[in-house]
Amino acid sequence: MSNMNSTHRAARGNARRSVLVKVTALALAIATFASVPHDASADALSRRQAKRMYDRLTGTPPTPALLNDLETRVAQDKVSAALYMMDASDPRSSAFYSTTLKNFATPWTNRDRTVFAPLNDYTATVIGMVKDDLDFRGILSDDIVYIGQGITPAYSTTNNDHYVAMENNNADLRVVLQRTTQSSLNGLPPNATAGIITSRAAAEAFFIDGTNRAMFRFTLLNHLCHDMEQVHDTTRPPDRIRQDVTRSPGGDSSLFLNNCIGCHSGMDPMAQAFAYYDFDETQGRLVYTAGQVQPKYLINSDNFKPGYITTDDHWENRWRLSGKNTVLDWAGQDGTIRSGNGAKTLGEELAASGAFAQCQAEKVFRTVCFRSPSDQADRDQVTASANGFKSGGDLKRVFAETAAYCAGN
């Protein structure tokens, strides 16, 4: 009997769902076409702008009460109103951190650049630094990582479960994310930490296998908004190109002289900063071997025996020499090479560039305005925000200024 009853209940349930689906389908068919002209005269401009700014910053519409509040604030000062919308001390800003910033950073954390990748320590650190109003230029060099307070399982250096749990439970990242140091969690010496470069997620994506050039390329792509093709410059001296790069691909050195050299001559001297890093697939964790060059830097050495042999993690930025890549606006640019040891100093070098500031402003513009800068006014806005970012690295303010610019009329 109980089986029969449950069968009937299931049948009735199915029937109800079936009706519901049919009814909803009809309703949606109507609603999909329910776009009607808008009556712009019925409200104040600031109300419309307030809704759009909040929509764009948080990805969600404001409640009726909040909209009334925002309308007043927007009428007074749009940038201040935007900062109010992102105020991390108030729940109104939660979606900005849990949704907008998460989706903003997630594509940077994997090779496919997919936005569907799980939350991870890279993304959490980006969110946290903006939340806490930290200088975002430290994203590539600071000894920093954000973990979830009270989240089970706890942070692990060998898996991403901690962050997956946070995302699956729709944790309010505004509240749970807490700042700590990487060195206290993953055992790296503090001077070997380099912001998101030494995050577990970035290591898993870009230090895995290969030759660690991926870390340089993706950092450049995600944080200076330039892919290798755009910085291709064949005039750099090739003396630091490693042995694994064949100088005669398929027996034709003109390919090397016209193509390969253009990227490798600039990239290899800088990617040397990562010479002590690797991602251990078996353990699932970042590995750092101080003073010992990873074997991946020395593979395929017979491809060109007279090539460069990596002996340490000393990097050089040859793009500072007079040439096309000075447009990246290196800090204190004087036509001479800057160099250093390790990922941290390279991260500082990259993050101090004008291109880094410009890139952050452009990414924010695309996120908030739903389009790339299109005309001179757009570019002026991006440049103004980037210039502001250069002093203090306040990414939240870039969001605020951009939201104000794209509030619409």
């Binding site: 389908a25 609603a31 808008h38 090739p238 398929g250 027996g251 447009v327």
Partner: protein, 841 residues
Amino acid sequence: MKRVFHSSVARLGLLALVAVVVLSGCGGGAATTTNPVTTPPTSGPTYTGPAPANADIQAFRINFWENVRGTNRCGNCHTAGGQMPNFARSDDVNMAYQQAVTVVNRENPSQSIIVAKVGGGHNCWLADAGACASIMTRWIQDWVGAAGTGGRQIELVEPTPKDPGSTRRLPATAPSAYFTDGSSRSVYTLVTTYCSDCHRSTAATKQSPFFAAADVQESYQNAMPKMNLDDPLNSRFVIRLGRESHNCWSDCTANAAEMQAAIQMLADSITPTQVDPNLITSKALTLFDGTVASGGNRYENNLIALYEFKSGQGTTAFDTSGVDPAADLTLSGDVTWVGGWGINIRSGKAQASTTASRKFQQMMTATGEYSIEAWVVPGNVTQEDARIISYSGSTSARNFTMGQTLYNYDFFNRSSVTGSNGTPQLSTADADERLQASLQHVVMTYDPVNGRRIYVNGEFTGDLDGAGGGTLGDWDNSFAFVLGNEVSNNRQWQGVIRLVAIHNRALTLQQIQQNFQAGVGEKFFMLFGVSHLINVPKAYVMFEASQYDSAGYLFTNPKFISLDASAMPGSIPLKGMRIGVNGAEPQVGQAYRLMDTVIADANYSAATGQTLSTVGTIIGLEQGPASDEFYLCFDVLGTRSNVCSTYAQAVPPTFVNVPRPSDIGFRTFDKINATMAAVTGVSPNTAGVKTTFTNIRQSLPAVDSIEAFLSSHQTAIAQLAIQYCDALVESGQAQAYFPGLQLNSAPSAVFNTNAGKDLLIDPLINNMIGSNVGSQPSAAELKNTYTPSNQATDGPTRPGLYALIDTLSACGGGACPAGRTKLIAKATCGAVLGSGAVLID
């Protein structure tokens, strides 16, 4: 004038000077119509003279004399009573020896008079004089024991001082003087008139290079390396016609003179490139002005075939092993010669006759073991089941094969423990990715104990032969030896082969490493004179240089050295060294541009000099190794300083204004979820909602562009919207969300008036769409039917929410079932929540 490095120089890593024939690099030889002689030397009479007087004469007899005394070689003339020196006399080996030592250089066999003689075309028994020179060198080496190690020396010869510049550079496109007749007929006219029967891609007997092409530019590109503008007399075109009498059209001397005049006319039209006299430059030289350093200490004691591809022209790749019969290869299809020795196989093969190939079967089965050695540059790492070197009859029958499958080398060998197709093959492990599209030294050995082994770049790959050893007694002697394809033409391999050596012994690891270290190709020590810049006599910056391939030169291991053994440098700062070519510094490949060092007594030794850098670089080829003139330029050298050249300045990017795309966009997946949760007040952690969102997350919009919105997105949105609305209506929050709405009453009681319907609609609009926002539709617009004034542009009439509720409440004219009001509430909620008014941002 000469500085001699003794055996201690081996520590320098300098390669010993053996087996190199500079002349062969310039080509040479008789008319290409002559077929090469592949038969063994026709022996003189059986030797009945006195026995060799000592061990050296015995070695002379076995390795040299027996090879040359045949009547189809030197024994036709240099016999007793014949032409002197009669080193090929068959009556007395001891007397022949006395004559031979007068024409042989025991220290540098390649520099022997007899080698220079045959290399210059003197009665070479092959079609290519260079091949004869190589073979003659090898016989001498075998005689004097040059294949051993140590004891040999390198002589660095001071080049003639020459200032850089004043060279004429051929422009990239053909100048008019190339194809326009003037004081003499132009080069283009001459080659297209007299050479087009062969040197044209459409010729019946086509033969590269195609400088006789009808297309002027194609002709010019191919003719460039054959013309020496600074010394027309030494142009390859002129030499070929005059000295080598290659297919002259009337009188060779006159034809050569006319060609020289044509090149001179071209040269006169081109202004020489001058080097800025203020620059700090070394003396200049061409690659061939350097001291030959190639050929290294290869181990070749059991060689049975050797292909060095030195000819650089024609359709025959000669077997220069000196082991008869020579298994020369005929090139067919798209196979071209590579500068610096080699062939580039794109679509074709190089194959020996089955008759000549028989020696492989005979000599390898005799020993029961063998080695296939090659320097190759695979064209890519995507080709599969491709044959690099094969001795086979078809795709299903072979004796041995070296092949490529993606990143792996394959080794097929037919033996008593494998099939007639040499299977199962031994392949390098996938994970190792041993095969790279770069120059690699590959050796495959077989012996009855270990079976097959593969060595790449002097290293045993560790791949073990599961089949084990066996015997080679089943080998078929009717197969052909072939490079680059299967004999049946359906296993094409693409890439460059720079050397192939076949040995009838399994080389040891040590021997393989010796051959790997010896390298491949023609190497030179180039001495760039700098004595005029610093106060050190006979001071040079010395490079090891070679032609790397058809497009570039390799310069490596720069050293500072004085050929005056008593000289010391003192302290000489050196900064910013650049390599100049033909009067200008190439922008690309200047690996020493950032050099900053000091040449100091402490780091200098008279024997080894001072190493300036251990890295090498590639410099682009311009006119060819015979013509390209190199020099060095320094920013600082000693007390002098002057920056050679500066980098180009950056040009700020120019932006183009484009019309602004749509100002509005669509919420993306997480934003949709967050929005629905926010406007309904339902937690996204609610079971049904969470499950649905997880399932459809990647079906929701991933980008905010409204132009990327698809109908499939709307389907996913509908699923999520109805889950949220279901959770809302079924939750305890429903009454608070819809104040006054009796969800448990019948629709006829609840929705019988618009006021009743508003109890459902108004909360939805207020919370989800917003009120009094001009960018959103108003409540009235949503509730009532909208009829556009221009339906052609604005679409059809759209029923409003009132009409929707009426339709849903009708229940077919009868009484609605219980719970219908909730259903209507969920449906109306879903219609609003999933609508563009909520989700368009």
